[in-house]
């Protein structure tokens, strides 16, 4: 069983998972397809990666992904639009009885997560206790034993769940945030026992469940040290770990090299009037061409953040992927639908990103070129709620008005 935070969640400036982090997580899934875990609690930390997986259509999901998705639980993560859980709130497993003729033991595993960090857009967290009460009541109808898998740092909150939710036999909680609080001994809250996952699974948790002749359950908790001195290494696991490390490293190198390559080509073309167009359609001439007539507008632009939109990429090579250029560069007509790494995007957000390609206007400076009819929809294509939550069109326009 997995109590949560099994994926990495280092994010880029805009809150998206970095390319190397996605690669790392893909390998975690690969590993779990070969060393299966029966039930995964989706914590708030796993949600961005898991939500991306869930949003892909079934045909796109890899062979490794599909079985894992059927083992995810979370009772308090719901879709904003429907209010329904995005994965199963609980899963019931049947364990054959060791006593002759006795019924199998049905164990329900319910998932709960803390509410930080914020969920991705379209999802929300509901109160733990409310979710726990509802799920425990449903799970009790179809199980003999109810176990909550939780990822909740606050000791007060996990205790509150046990105190205010009748019917939970065991809570297994991942509460450790650092080595300092790496081990928390089990505690009883009323009839519910709470056991804690050691930090980073530096010890494997073991919950032993016993059933008396009268059908009553009792438990014993063990924590098993994991070390490379006495615990034999599994050759398959070792191969996966090595391959994962290599893939992660290669992704980092690819990100850095892609950025370097694009910056090098962009530097050579950024300020020139070399046309970038296709066939008979108007070509991009760069802001340098605009400056020849529109001096005031050019000065306003050149002192704006748009004129330096590529700069933030330079210091963040590990975060780079092609989608960064959608908003941190100027897309020429050729770039749309083609490979940006061929070097057809201009650096920074230049005049033509908003006004369109200017070659016809340069050739014949008639009025009517470059009018923007719906500025709001235009600006928010980059200044989205996720990326620029404070963005207000009127305030922003005042800064670049020309």
């Amino acid at each position: 069983m997995e109590t949560g935070y099994f994926t990495a969640d280092e994010r880029n400036t805009h809150g998206h998972l970095r390319p190397d982090v996605v690669t790392k997580n893909d390998w975690v899934l690969n590993a779990y397809s070969q060393f299966p875990i029966d039930v995964f609690n989706v914590s708030s930390h796993d949600l961005r990666y898991v939500a991306d997986l869930l949003s892909k259509s079934a045909s796109v999901r890899s062979r490794e992904t599909a079985p894992l998705l059927s083992r995810l639980v979370s009772a308090n993560t719901v879709a904003v639009s429907t209010g329904l859980p995005i994965v199963k709130p609980f899963i019931v497993r049947e364990v054959p009885s060791r006593q002759n003729g006795a019924k199998p033991i049905r164990v329900a595993f319910i998932g709960l997560t803390e509410t930080e960090p914020d969920p991705p857009r379209g999802l929300k967290f509901i109160d733990f206790v409310e979710a726990a009460r509802h799920s425990v009541s449903e799970a009790r109808k179809v199980s003999d034993l109810v176990i909550v898998l939780a990822k909740i740092k606050s000791q007060n909150e996990i205790t509150r769940i046990a105190r205010e939710t009748p019917g939970i036999d065991v809570i297994i909680n991942g509460n450790a945030g650092s080595l300092e609080d790496s081990f928390t001994p089990p505690v009883y809250v009323g009839p519910t026992i709470i056991v804690f996952t050691p930090f980073e699974t530096r010890m494997l948790g073991e919950l032993r469940v016993y059933r008396s002749a009268q059908g009553k359950f009792s438990t014993k908790q063990r924590f098993v040290a994991l070390d490379e001195m006495l615990v034999p290494e599994d050759p398959t696991a070792k191969r996966i770990v090595e391959a994962a490390a290599k893939a992660e490293s290669e992704t980092r190198i690819t990100s850095s090299k892609s950025l370097e390559s694009w910056l090098a080509s962009a530097r050579t073309r950024g300020g020139t009037a070399e046309p970038h167009g296709s066939g008979s359609s108007p070509a991009f001439v760069t802001s340098a061409a605009c400056s020849k007539c529109h001096v005031d507008q050019y000065l306003k632009w050149s002192n704006s953040a748009h004129a330096h939109a590529t700069d933030p990429l330079v210091s963040r090579p590990l975060e780079f992927d092609s989608s960064c250029l959608d908003c941190h560069a100027t897309q020429t007509q050729i770039a749309r639908g083609s490979n940006m790494l061929e070097g057809v995007r201009l650096p920074n957000v230049q005049c033509e990103q908003c006004h369109g390609p200017g070659s016809d206007h340069v050739a014949k400076p008639a009025k009517g070129y470059g009018r923007i009819t719906n500025m709001q929809s235009f600006c928010v294509s980059c200044h989205t709620v996720d990326i620029s939550p404070e963005f207000k069109l009127q305030t922003a326009w005042e800064k670049i008005k020309h």
Binding site: M1, E2, T3, G4, Y5, F6, T7, A8, D9, V21, N25, W27, V28, A31, N41, H45, V95, S97, R98, I105, V107, I147, L149, K151, I172, G174, A176, P185, P186, V187, Y188, I193, V195, T197, E200, T201, R202, M203, L204, G205, E206, L207, R208, V209, Y210, R211, K220, Q221, R222, F223, V224, A225, L226, D227, M229, L230, V231, A237, V241, A244
Partner: protein, 73 residues
């Protein structure tokens, strides 16, 4: 001099007893009876995974691995 030594020894013992009482109380609060055991690094591998003691089922649990596939011993 002897009087001072006696006084210091008495103070030390009193402090030690007080500390042990506080420690024992904290332990009792966290561990009513014998709630858990640790199979540490000194335990041979075969015994770490545990013997068959008649348990109806065993749940192994992990968490907080944060994308790492390495063993953290």
């Amino acid at each position: 001099m002897i009087k001072q030594l006696k006084l210091a020894t008495t103070f030390l013992i009193a402090t030690l007893v007080g500390f042990l009482q506080i420690y024992a109380a904290a332990g009792a609060q966290n561990q009513p009876g014998r709630l858990f055991e640790i199979a540490g690094m000194n335990v041979p591998f075969e015994q770490r995974v545990g013997v068959d003691d008649g348990a109806a089922l065993i749940v192994h649990f992990s968490g907080d691995t944060r994308g790492s596939l390495d063993v953290c011993g």
